[in-house]
Amino acid sequence: MLKKIAMLSLLRSPKTAIQHLLIGDWLTIIFSTILVIYLFQTLWSHQQATKVQIRLGDKVYATYSLNLQQTIHVHGPIGDAEIHIAQGKVRFAKSPCHNQYCVHQGWLTHAGQAAICLPNQISLELIGEEKPYDSLNY
């Protein structure tokens, strides 16, 4: 009972709560914050996307550069999907599926982003890569 009251009083007043923290608590807070920041930077960095990998079923159907503007038709189990590549981005433009979730994903613009049409078993994933050059002349 006393413990409950003590904990409730901590919640009500941040000032007293802080005063009650032990060195182990501080350690945990500091270290966790550092860890979160570090993970954020490493895992969530937006890498330059250069290509899109299209998968049909469990195989890689094709890989296309994002530099050339083009429309690609992929024939899946339930019908034809139309994929648009334009100016460094890609999207499902048309799909034979009922819910159109894949189309509603919109444009993929960064490496690691993906869109999937489950009923038609087609997926798009943007790939970034260590380029052997700084810029492309075309």
Binding site: Y38, T63, Y64, N67, Q87, P132, S135, L136, N137
Partner: protein
């Protein structure tokens, strides 16, 4: 309680260690892309703080946007912000009344006229009507109905840069069929403008890419900037080369702006003599050594080479003194000058396997 300080110390050292490794691995390279000037523009700045680099890059993007607005070749003049070029074209079509133009545009017109005359009309920015007839004065391209009669009459009308009279910052055309389209010049002009600005701002290392045309300042840290050259038929580079301080590179190709009709490809590069798109060549790349208008040359100089028939390509290259160039013809045969071959690193597996790269001997 006594364990507390030791563990704290350990955790602090670990954290400092993690951050230090990350900080030392980051090179001072700022990279930014923007869709301006009707195309993808890519700026890399090395050796500046992120804040400064961002300011500089944004200034360059803004300059490009102004240039784009000023030189837009087909925005209707009824638009709320018509382009200066559009207004001029409209005046040309309507008669010989001189129209006031900015000194910047006047300089561009004088410059392009000189280049056009030098190329004996192979580089001809006055054929806007032909470009429009083929449907290339649009943001997207689709097959057009080919009106042979119309094309014939447009060719016969013979619009030329020399039809334009520029005096006291006014201009008029003696030929109403002149329609200016600076598509083959503007990107190069913008490259020179951006490079000049960055150098004046004491930037020592940068790489500017406007729709594929690239100019280099300084290096990428300890090594030169490296550029890839797009394979005309594959979404990959066919070769790479180092682009040293002040050098520029440009490629004219049939693989970005084109449509197919009845199995034939019609690209945006029109031969002013026939009125039809060039079909014998896939791509021409020119490499320009450091000079005042390296950017302009990297844009303009590839066109005459692209348009000229195979046996005349070397001559077309000599017009602008181009020593480093490559031609890929419609059969995918590759021809390179020895000077450029020495600089290229082939990365396409088919080219590496075959080695059927032919050397061009310059006249």
């Amino acid at each position: 309680m006594r364990k507390g300080p030791t563990t704290l110390l350990f955790a602090a050292i670990l954290a400092i260690g993690i951050f230090s490794i990350r900080a030392f691995n980051k090179e001072p390279l700022y990279h930014s892309q923007s869709y301006v000037f009707g195309t993808l523009v890519d700026i890399s700045i090395y050796g500046e703080t992120d804040e400064r680099a961002k300011l500089l890059a944004n200034h360059v993007f803004q300059d490009f946007q102004h240039l784009h607005d000023q030189l837009h070749a087909w925005k209707p003049i009824t638009d709320s912000h018509p382009s200066e070029l559009g207004i001029l074209n409209n005046a040309f079509a309507q008669g010989k009344q001189p129209v006031t133009i900015s000194s910047q545009l006047a300089n561009m017109l004088t410059d392009t006229t000189q280049l056009s005359v030098k190329s004996q009309g192979l580089f001809n920015p006055a054929i806007g009507h032909l470009i429009s007839t083929w449907g290339f004065q649009r943001d997207e391209f689709s097959a057009v109905n080919i009106d042979a009669e119309k094309i014939k009459s447009l060719v016969k009308a013979n619009p030329r840069m020399t039809d334009i009279v520029i005096q006291n910052n006014t201009a008029y055309s003696s030929n109403p069929d002149v329609k200016l389209d600076l598509g083959g010049y503007a990107k190069g002009y913008a490259l020179d403008m951006a490079a000049d600005y960055l150098r004046k701002q004491q930037v020592k290392n940068a790489l500017i890419n406007i729709g594929g045309n690239i100019i280099a300042i300084g290096q990428h840290g300890a090594k030169p900037w490296r550029v890839g050259i797009q394979h005309p038929r594959k979404p990959a580079a066919i070769a790479t080369l180092d682009l040293n301080d002040g050098w520029a590179i440009g490629t004219s190709g049939d693989y970005q702006r084109y449509f197919t009709l009845n199995g034939k490809r019609y690209c945006h590069i029109i031969d002013p003599n026939t009125g039809y798109p060039v079909q014998h060549t896939q791509a021409v790349t020119v490499l320009i050594p450091p000079q005042t208008n390296a950017g302009v040359l990297s844009d303009v100089a590839s066109k005459p080479i692209f348009i000229a028939a195979a046996e005349n390509k070397s001559k077309a290259a000599s017009i602008f003194g181009i020593q480093y160039f490559m031609v890929i013809d419609q059969q995918s045969n590759i021809f390179v000058t020895k000077a450029l071959a020495q600089k290229l690193n082939w990365v396409d597996p088919d080219v590496k396997k075959d080695s059927h790269v032919k050397l061009i001997t310059l006249p």
